[in-house]
């Protein structure tokens, strides 16, 4: 019998464990997809359409091939499999054939011995375009007689329409407010550009090292386009420099593989920043029309809404975005009568798809703006109005789904409301003022405003999708010590998933040494690192695989020791708590390995006519209070402070949870006041960080964060997805604060200086002058 004392290992569930990749990241040794090199490697580059809509009459690559150093120049004719890919619909060509549908659509790819040579080769490819009028307005695209962009789509340019009908859709109310809102096109703007390395393999297949969000969905799309069986297309995750949804769709994956297979040499592709703006999908711009009806006490009677989401040229994940906007579109409120119609539409604008909080972000800006408008109409406090209507556990969604775990919407609102307000700005310190050290203001014309927002998001994939993850856990004894390795295909994008996997294995097995193996397609699918789902689903899979390993170990120990034992803190322990043996004693040189496929509770499709159905498996909530200072004359905004309260069910890693809340809130801030891809006639006008602004360290306000842990009994450890909710509610809170400071209606995000400073856009009087020190 072992006499070793029992010790609880550090870095378990609930600890702020340090990321296993942290040291590599601070040393600059973590290999991102753009850092990969291979001997004999070529560089790939992509020729893109300059037109948002054009017919291709001919493509001639001859001149490119004659340039010394060029090894291949490929077009659609060189795609061996089906020249189609896509997440929900395979509607997107790998390389354009007869028509291009958006500016930046890939038309040809080249491989050369130097990136500069590859770029010059692109200039030598002659494409004869017949330019067509682009369809650029989503509402007009839905209209009768609009040019149809995808003839195979049964709904014309309408890719998906979700209708929800609940209660009496024609219900009348004492107080009615209406509003029309718009959300601009936001970019994920991850810092590490699209990149990867494709290496041709002996067996005629290819090995692809790439930054993505879901290895297996890439694998199946790449294999389909290459005309290869999936097992000949092997993917390994390279370091991911942020994702935020933009890596859910393919970018350079098929292109690099095509070039590698053609040239029989490794091919690396790395997009530049400008190209990156064309290389991935964006957040759907939205037009949202709402009518809220309430009784005179502020109890919501009905919500009627129409939402049009501009999906751009290809489907990407538009169908899921439409479902989210529709099903979450009235917000975390109890409303007996709902009529909601949401459309996702094809246009010749840049394709739109996944971005953090998708669908929910757009709707939240509109419904929260409406709640403020209603509060004003009723003369009620906006937080009080929200609390009065807040959903709670047991509430029914407009889809008829009953929310069957914690939904502390009122509590989240109370928490942010009750935080002390920050002190007034110091008018002598320009850093405290809107415009900062640019010294544009001396404090005259600066008005403070406070605003609130609360949002709801579904966690994981919905509507009956078979959403699962696979984990393989291996236990062995190395150098006398038990060692665990965890193998999944789950993608670490910075959210801290490798840490979570390690923490779960330590918790379940009580073993300190846990290695998370590189993610690759050598193990089953883990699903996507999106929809705030990985801690839940891959976390669940790792937990389940560890439990199997533990059961096997205990059974083995029982045989060897001749009595029942359990595994406690990494030791085999009898019923009376005495340590019976160490793992090393029992296991010797045997290895226990278990692979588990794990699913969350099933979800169900929405009824096509009424939108009724238990479509989502879990809901998550966050609330924000924003405090802003606005120079009402110059239109400059400084976000002074953001308070956030979020229920995470269980904080698996409190430090990482905080990071997600900061990061999400900042991206919501970006959408509120600065981030927009400017698209004019289908053409992107600002594909750079000079012209597309994202929040800097100066723009990021101090944050006060409350994390609630109300366990969801259906989820592993009770956890609730974390990543998206803070992105959703920060935008409307900030805009509400700007409205409070300026009196402007502000029905569109991002709010631009013009919207604040220029006369003519006010729907309400500017607040009384005494708040403005001098005039």
């Amino acid at each position: 019998m072992s006499t070793a004392t029992r010790e609880t290992v550090a870095g378990r569930v609930g600890d702020s464990a340090v990321r296993p990749d942290a040291a590599l990241k601070v040393r600059g040794e973590f290999a991102y997809s753009s850092d990969l090199f291979a001997d004999d490697m070529l560089w790939g580059a992509t020729l893109r359409s300059p037109h948002p809509h054009a017919r291709i009459r001919s493509i001639d690559v001859t001149a490119a091939l004659t340039l010394p150093g060029v090894y291949a120049a490929l077009t659609h004719a060189d795609v061996p499999g089906e020249n189609r890919y896509g997440l929900d619909h395979r509607d997107q060509p790998v390389l354009a054939e007869d028509v291009v549908r958006y500016q930046g659509e890939p038309v040809a790819v080249v491989a050369a011995d130097h990136p500069e040579t590859a770029r010059r080769a692109l200039d030598r490819i002659a494409v004869d375009y017949q330019v067509l009028d682009p369809v650029v307005d989503a509402e007009l695209a839905m209209a009768e007689g609009a040019p149809v962009l995808h003839p195979e789509c049964p709904g014309g340019n309408v890719l998906r329409h979700v209708r929800i009908r609940r209660g009496d859709p024609e219900a009348t109310a004492e107080v009615v407010v209406t509003g029309e809102y718009r959300v601009g096109m936001q970019d994920q703007a991850f810092l590490g550009p699209e990149s990867g390395l494709a290496v041709p393999a002996e067996d005629g297949g290819v090995d692809l090292h790439v930054a993505t969000q879901w290895l297996h969905v890439d694998q199946s799309q790449v294999a389909h386009a290459l005309g290869l069986p999936p097992e000949k297309v092997r993917l390994t995750l390279a370091g991911v420099g942020g994702a935020f949804g933009a890596r859910e769709d393919l970018s350079m994956q098929v292109h690099a593989c095509l070039l590698a297979l053609r040239t029989r040499r490794p091919v690396k592709m790395v997009y530049g920043r400008e190209e990156s703006f064309f290389g991935h999908v964006h957040r759907h711009p939205a037009l949202l029309r709402y009518e809220h009806g309430a009784d005179r006490h502020g109890r919501l009677v009905s919500v009627r809404a129409e939402i049009v989401l501009d999906g751009g040229a290809y489907a990407s994940s538009t169908p899921a975005v439409v479902a989210n906007a529709a099903t979450l579109g009235i917000g975390p409120y109890q409303v007996p009568n709902v009529r909601m119609d949401c459309w996702g539409v094809y246009t010749n604008n840049p394709p739109c798809g996944a971005m953090r909080g998708f669908g929910a972000v757009q709707a939240c800006f509109a419904y929260e703006s409406q709640m403020d408008k209603l509060a004003e109409r009723l003369g009620m406090d906006p937080v009080e109005l929200r609390i009065r209507n807040a959903m709670r556990e047991g509430s029914t969604m407009p889809t008829g789904q009953v929310v069957d775990s914690a939904a502390p919407v009122a509590e989240l609102l109370r928490r942010v409301r009750d935080k002390p307000l920050p002190p007034p700005a110091d008018p002598t310190d320009p850093r405290d003022l809107p415009g900062g050290v640019a010294n544009t203001t001396r404090g005259d014309g600066v008005v403070r405003g406070v605003g609130y927002g609360v949002g709801i998001k579904n966690v994981a994939f919905s509507e009956g999708f078979d959403d699962y993850s696979t984990a393989r856990v291996r236990l062995e004894v190395l150098g006398g010590e038990p060692v665990v390795s965890v193998h999944t295909a789950a993608v670490e994008v910075g959210q801290g998933l490798v840490t979570v996997q390690q923490q779960i294995a330590r918790t379940e097995l009580g073993i300190a040494r846990v290695t998370v193996l590189p993610a690759d397609t050598g193990v089953g699918s883990a699903g996507s690192s999106s929809a705030s789902r990985q801690s839940y689903v891959t976390g669940g899979a790792v937990k389940a695989a560890c439990e199997r390993v533990r059961d096997t170990l205990c059974a083995l120990a029982a045989t060897r020791l001749g009595r029942e034992v359990g595994l406690v803190d990494g030791k085999l322990v009898t019923a009376d708590g005495a340590v019976a043996a160490s793992i090393a004693d029992v296991l010797g040189d045997e290895v226990i390995e278990r692979t588990v496929e794990w699913r969350h509770r099933p979800t169900f499709p929405l009824d096509p006519l009424t939108g009724q159905g238990n479509a989502h498996t879990q809901y998550a909530f966050a609330a924000h209070r924003a405090v802003v200072d606005v120079d009402v004359e110059l239109g400059l905004v400084k976000v002074v402070e953001l308070a956030c309260a979020q229920d995470v069910g269980r904080a698996i890693n409190p430090q990482a949870v905080l990071g997600q809340i900061h990061g999400g809130s900042a991206q919501g801030l970006g959408l509120a006041v600065m981030e927009e891809i400017q698209v004019v006639d289908g053409t992107v006008r600002n594909p750079s960080f000079t012209d597309y602004l994202i929040p800097t360290i100066v723009d990021m306000p101090p944050m006060v964060v409350d994390v609630l842990e109300l366990a969801d009994p259906h989820a592993p450890y009770g956890l609730r997805g974390v990543g998206e909710p803070p992105t959703i509610s920060s935008t409307p809170a900030i805009v509400a604060a700007i409205r409070a400071a300026t009196g402007r209606a502000l029905t569109r995000v991002p709010v631009r200086p013009d919207d604040i400073a220029l006369a003519g856009s006010a729907s309400r009087p500017v607040p009384s002058r005494p708040e403005v020190p001098c005039d």
Binding site: A22, V26, S34, G659, G663
Partner: protein, 161 residues
């Protein structure tokens, strides 16, 4: 190679002699010629700070610096910060404060922070924000970056200056 130029540069304490295209940036030269991929390229046009390195102790955007202009200079990249396996205090502070998520901006943030502290620009949180504002973090680990720079500054004596 005929129009290439010979450049002598001391990188992370090692003298390197390389023939470079006069148009090549320091970012490309470090990454593609010297294999020092710790220096990141987030924009290649001076907008993001991911490529920040030290040239003769001063922080520069290596994507806006031609490699030829580093002739005779001393260049320090993130790979050259730690000595003998020990993390530099700034690196340690970033690690302990979880001052990153994806980590792509981190080498640039770390190099910028080292210079920021040495410049004496890390005496308060406001000052740190101002002088670190050339380094974008899309994951927005900003609160932890401020905390890390402040902590490292206290340790390195930069805060007192």
């Amino acid at each position: 190679m005929s129009n290439h130029v010979a450049v002598t540069v001391r990188v992370n304490g090692v003298d390197r002699e390389i023939e470079v295209d006069p148009r090549a940036t320091l970012t490309e030269t470090l990454r593609d010629r010297l294999g020092l991929t710790g220096t990141k390229k987030g924009c290649d046009r001076g907008e993001c700070g991911a490529c920040t390195v030290l040239v003769n102790g001063r922080r520069v955007l290596s994507c806006m610096t031609l490699a030829v202009t580093a002739h005779g200079a001393e260049v320090t990249t993130v790979e050259g910060l730690s000595s003998g396996g020990e993390l530099h205090p700034v690196q340690r502070a970033f690690l302990e404060n979880d001052a990153f998520q994806c980590g792509f901006c981190t080498p640039g943030q770390v190099m910028s922070a080292v210079a920021c502290i040495a410049e004496g620009h890390a005496t308060s949180d406001d000052e740190i924000r101002e002088w670190m504002s050339g380094n974008i973090c899309r994951c927005a680990a900003y609160p932890q970056i401020v905390a890390s720079v402040a902590k490292a500054a206290a340790e390195l004596g930069g805060a007192a200056r």
